[in-house]
Point group: C2
Chain length 239, copies 2
């Protein structure tokens, strides 16, 4: 049975969704494609190694050690770095470019399409992702995800957890920060949003890093909501 | 019967849609709301007067006479100017703010939702509008329009027909300009896109300015396609 919704929920007008890990399954999608196209490669380790370079790469940009760079290009830089470690240094330019675009072909978690559709009935729904706009567009097309707006680090020229991204959503929609709720599977993202005055909903994604590395998804203090998946969030929001 | 599609159409990967007049019926929506909420006012003339201030206001911004300004604010400035001419100088701040947001509640043309859904099956679909992101998001929500990406003058900090907007779409999607087709009901918009190397599709909207001022929608040289509405475009594109 769904518990009664807290009364402040009625004031939330905009739901901003983190994408990688929250709405789409980057680990499973990359693992499946790598194991299908590159026989003998450990897709599980490959997916995790690629993702592990992500935060350090963004941090270099945000510290100003590197000019503004789209995630597509950061992903490509990390890919070129890890390929030799997996015995794949021989992949040519076309193969690397194709593999890099696996991030445009990530599959949604099984609950995501229906959950989003239900949530969109009663709230404005947008992305708030570090992924670039072209990536998010192709991902949304691939997964048949329907947004009211597609917002990205590319629009704000800043990566999460920079406040410019969270406050940027409130500015775009011309609402107070507490009328925006960030929906994410990552506590650091949610904490940064909360510091800007946004509401926060944690989504459990225990298999984000694969079945071999289950994630601790126990509830933590601070988040306004804690939901198993997007269907549970829709239940809670009466959508 | 639908004529055979030209062979270059297969290379078009992205359809970028003008919004006001092409996808949504600004004139009819404003006329209906004004005549419902402000009895005695000529909604037809009011809608046209409001829209008539739109291009001059953007031109002032693009000439640098005014700093960067969102369409919501340009609409509000024009509204404040025309209200006295319609005997509505007495409207208070809340009434003006509400009326200004009619641009967030414009209804799609009858063919738009189904046309877009069909076109999205085979192509990436995005907005390319001078409307700001918040406006486009609420408009898309109101009309249940589903985009892969929502692009706006606000993203490029330039209004159409500035080349930065048309070329910006190609850049976001990382494709050559000729792989993008602008879909619009306005020849000047299409001509500017064509000058940037985009493909162009003209959509007939004879009633854009109301039944009292039918628009000449006869075909002109230059546009790659000429379609009655978005369903005809979907037919032509095999969607």
């Amino acid at each position: 049975m769904t518990p009664p919704a807290p009364s402040w929920l009625a004031d939330v007008e905009v739901l901003a969704f983190d994408i990688f890990g929250t709405v789409v399954d980057w680990h499973g999608s990359i693992r499946r494609e790598v194991e299908r196209d590159l026989p003998g490669i450990d897709g599980d380790a490959f997916a995790r190694a690629w993702r592990a370079g992500y935060k350090p790469a963004m941090a270099r940009v945000m510290r100003g050690e590197q000019g503004w760079t789209l995630i597509d290009d950061l992903h490509r830089g990390i890919l070129d770095e890890i390929l030799p470690r997996f015995g794949l240094a021989h992949l040519d330019e076309a193969q690397r470019a194709h593999l890099n675009r696996v991030w445009h072909r990530l599959d949604p978690w099984p609950d995501a399409v229906e959950g989003l559709e239900r949530l969109r009935r009663r709230r404005l729904v947008c992305t708030l992702s570090n992924g670039n706009l072209g990536l998010l567009a192709r991902l949304s097309h691939h997964g048949a995800l329907a947004w009211d707006c597609v917002l990205s680090a590319e629009v704000f020229r800043a990566y999460k957890p920079d406040p410019a991204t969270y406050l940027g959503v409130a500015r775009v929609f011309d609402v107070a920060p507490q009328r925006v709720m960030l929906v994410a599977a990552h506590h650091d993202d949610l904490a940064a949003a909360r510091a800007c005055g946004l509401r926060t909903a944690y989504i459990e994604r225990p298999l984000e890093f694969g079945a071999a590395q289950p994630k601790d998804v126990t509830a933590r203090e601070g988040n306004d909501l804690h939901c198993r998946n997007l269907l549970a969030l829709a239940d809670l929001m009466g959508s």
